[in-house]
C-alpha cells in the first residue's frame, strides 16, 4: 500500500481578540491507501482544525499555517493556491461533517447537491450526474433513490441525511475521505449503521479515511490506526490494538478509563480531572502536565520527544525515559473484550 498523505510538523494558529491561539502545534502523521486513521481527543485538542486544514477549509485569516507541510500525492497542499485547492477538493479529498442537519443546503435538492461536484470535476452532463446520483444514493443505502434524489434535505431523517452527505463526499471517488465526528450527532443505533456503511464503502472503493472523533467506541469499530491528540499535539500514535491493549501515555489511559465498556461491572467510569491547557499561552512542557497523575518535574518545562514503543507505536511521554519510575497503567484503563476492527 502506498502512502498518500504525509503531514509533517504542521502548526496552525488563530488570531483572536484575546491573542494568538496555537491550535495545532507540530502535528505529524501519515496515511496509506485503504487505511483508516482515527484522530482522537477531547474538544479543543486541535483535531478538527487539523482535519479541516487538510482541505484548507480553516478560515484564513484569522487562521494561518505557522509551520509544516501537508504532502498529498507528492504535492504540498500548504502551498496550493485557492484555485488549485478547488480542483483537489471533492475530487481527491472530500469531507463529511458532524451535523447532518446543518451540513446540507436546505434550499437545494439532494440530487443537485450530489451532481454539483460531478459536473465540476468529471464534466458530466446534468443527466449523467443525475443518474450517477441515483447510483450513489443506492450505494449508501437510501431506499427509493429515484424519488429521494429530487427531495430536499428536510424531507430526510437525520441518519439518511448523513448517508446523503456520504454520497456527496463519495461522488468523485476521492482518494481520501475526512469524516469529522460523522456519528456524534446521530442516534446510537444509526451511528453503527453509518460506521458499517463507511467500512463497506472503503472495501469497495479503497479510499483512505481520516476519522475525527472523541469516542473510543467509534475508534474500535472503524479505525486501523489511531492518533491521540491533546493540547494541539499528537501525544501517542499506534495501531488500534496497540492503543487499546498497550497504551503508554497517561492521557490515553485516561481516555480508556473514561470509556464505558459492556463488561465493566464494578468499576466506575473515571473522568480525567481538570481541563485542557490554554493554547493562547501553550505550556512549555507536556500539555498534559497539569492533569497527569504521574507528572514529574521534568514534564513542566520540557516537551517529551517521541519514543518508539514498537515499529508502529510512538508515544511522547517522559515516563518512557529510562530514568523515570516504572508506572503501570491503572486497572480501569485495561480494556478487555473490546473488539477492534483491525
Amino acid at each position: 500500500m502506498s502512502k498518500i498523505l504525509e503531514v509533517k510538523d504542521l502548526s496552525i494558529a488563530f488570531e483572536t481578540y484575546g491573542g494568538e491561539v496555537q491550535a495545532v502545534r507540530g502535528v505529524e502523521f501519515d496515511l496509506h491507501e485503504q487505511e483508516t486513521l482515527a484522530i482522537v481527543g477531547e474538544s479543543g485538542s486541535g483535531k478538527s482544525v487539523t482535519a479541516q486544514s487538510l482541505m484548507r477549509l480553516t478560515p484564513m485569516p484569522p487562521g494561518k499555517f505557522t509551520s509544516g507541510s501537508i504532502m498529498f500525492n507528492g504535492e504540498n497542499l500548504v502551498d496550493k493556491s485557492d484555485k488549485q485547492m478547488e480542483e483537489i477538493r471533492g475530487r481527491d479529498i472530500s469531507m463529511i461533517f458532524q451535523d447532518p442537519m446543518t451540513s446540507l443546503n436546505p434550499t437545494m435538492t439532494v440530487g443537485k447537491q450530489i451532481a454539483e461536484g460531478l459536473i465540476k470535476h468529471q464534466n458530466m452532463s446534468k443527466k449523467a450526474a443525475h443518474n450517477r446520483g441515483v447510483e450513489l444514493l443506492k450505494l449508501v443505502g437510501i431506499p427509493n433513490p429515484e424519488t429521494r434524489i429530487n427531495q430536499y434535505p428536510h424531507q430526510y431523517s437525520g441518519g439518511m441525511r448523513q448517508r446523503a452527505m456520504i454520497a456527496i463526499a463519495l461522488a468523485c471517488d476521492p482518494k481520501l475521505l475526512i469524516a469529522d465526528e460523522p456519528t456524534t450527532a446521530l442516534d446510537v443505533t444509526i451511528q453503527a449503521q453509518i460506521l458499517d456503511l463507511m467500512r463497506e464503502i472503503q472495501k469497495k472503493t479503497g479510499t483512505a479515511i481520516i476519522l475525527i472523533t472523541h469516542d473510543l467506541g467509534v475508534v474500535a469499530n472503524a479505525a486501523s490506526r489511531v492518533a491521540v491528540m491533546y493540547g494541539g499535539k499528537i501525544v501517542e500514535t499506534g495501531n488500534v490494538d496497540e492503543i487499546f491493549y498497550q497504551p503508554k501515555h497517561p492521557y490515553t489511559w485516561g481516555l480508556l478509563s473514561s470509556m464505558p465498556s459492556l463488561d465493566s461491572k464494578e468499576e466506575e467510569l473515571e473522568a480525567i480531572p481538570g481541563s485542557p491547557p490554554d493554547l493562547k499561552d501553550p505550556p512549555k512542557g507536556c500539555p498534559f502536565v497539569t492533569r497527569c497523575p504521574y507528572a514529574m518535574k521534568v514534564c513542566e518545562n520540557h516537551m517529551p520527544e517521541y519514543t518508539d514503543v514498537s515499529a508502529t507505536q510512538k508515544t511522547a511521554c517522559w515516563l518512557l525515559d529510562e530514568r523515570a519510575p516504572d508506572v503501570e497503567p491503572p486497572q480501569s484503563a485495561r480494556v478487555e473484550g473490546v473488539k477492534t476492527h483491525a
Binding site: 458532524q98 446543518t102 443546503n105 434550499t107 461536484g117 430536499y152 452527505m165
Partner: protein, 311 residues
Amino acid sequence: MARYLLKRLVYIVVSLFLIVTITFFLMQAAPGGPFASEKKLTPAIEAQMNEAYGLDEPLHVQYMNYVVNAFSFDFGPSFKYVGQDVTDIIARSFPYSLILGLEAIFIALSIGVLLGVVAAVKHNKFGDYTAMVIAVLGISVPSFIMATILQYIFAIKLGALPVGRFDTFWHSILPAVALATTPLAFIARLMRSSMLEVLNSDYIKTAKSKGMSQKVVTYKHGLRNAILPVVSYLGPLVVSILTGSFIIESIFGIPGLGSEFVQSVTNRDYTVIMGTTVFFSVLLLISILIVDLLYGLVDPRIKVTGKGGKS
C-alpha cells in the same frame, strides 16, 4: 394549498372587520362634527347636512351602514370636496402611488441586496465599511429630509430632474429614491448579517469541500438562503413605502393617495380618512399574503398547507 388560502382569506376578512370597526369608532370619538371647522352654519342647515350624510341616525345604524358599505367598497362622499366620492378619490390617486411605490420597492430591493452581499463578502474590509456607512446613514436620515436634500441638489441646483408633480418617468426618480432610502438601508443591513451567518454555516463548508469556487459558494449556495429574511421583510417594506408616501408625495406635489391622505388628515375629512385607512389595510393584508406565498416558493421547508406556514 386551497385550504391555506381560504384560511388566510378568512383571517384577512376578520382583520379588516376589526380595522373598519376601530376606525369608525375612532372617528366618532374625534372632536367636533365634520362641519365644525367650517364657517358657522345655521342649525337648520347643519341638520339638513347631517341628514344628507346620514349622521342623524343612531350610532349603531350608522355603524352597520358603514360596515356594509365598506365591504362593498363604498365609503360615501367626501365631507370636504362636495360631489366627490371617497372611492373616486382613491381610484384617481392610487395609480400614482402604485407606480411610485413599485419603483421604490424595486430600488430598495435591488440596491439593498447588492450592498448587503458586497458587505458580507468583503467582511471587515473596505467594501464592508463603505456599504455599512451608506446603510447607517440611510437609516439615520429621515425620508423627508432625504427628499428635501435630493430636491435641492438635483432639481433646484442642478436642474437635472423635475422639482415635483408626476407627468413622466423623470418626475418619479427623485421621490422614488427618497422613498426607497430607509428600507434600502434596512435591507442592506439585513442582507449583510444574514449573508454572514449563511457564509459561516456548515452547508457552505460542504459546498466548499466539494470544490465549488468562491463564486458558486457565495451566489448559488449562499444567496438563495441568505435572501430568506429579506423576503420576510417584504411585508414591513410595503408598510414603510406606504407610510413614507404620505410625506414624500406631499413634498414632491404628487397627487397620489399618500398626499390625499395627508390632505384629509389636515382637513379632518373623516370619510376620506376612514376610506383610505381601510384601503391601505386591504393593500397591506394582501401584500402580506403574497409575501407568505412567495416565501413558500423560495424556502422548500415551508409548505403552504392548511397547517399554516410562516406568518
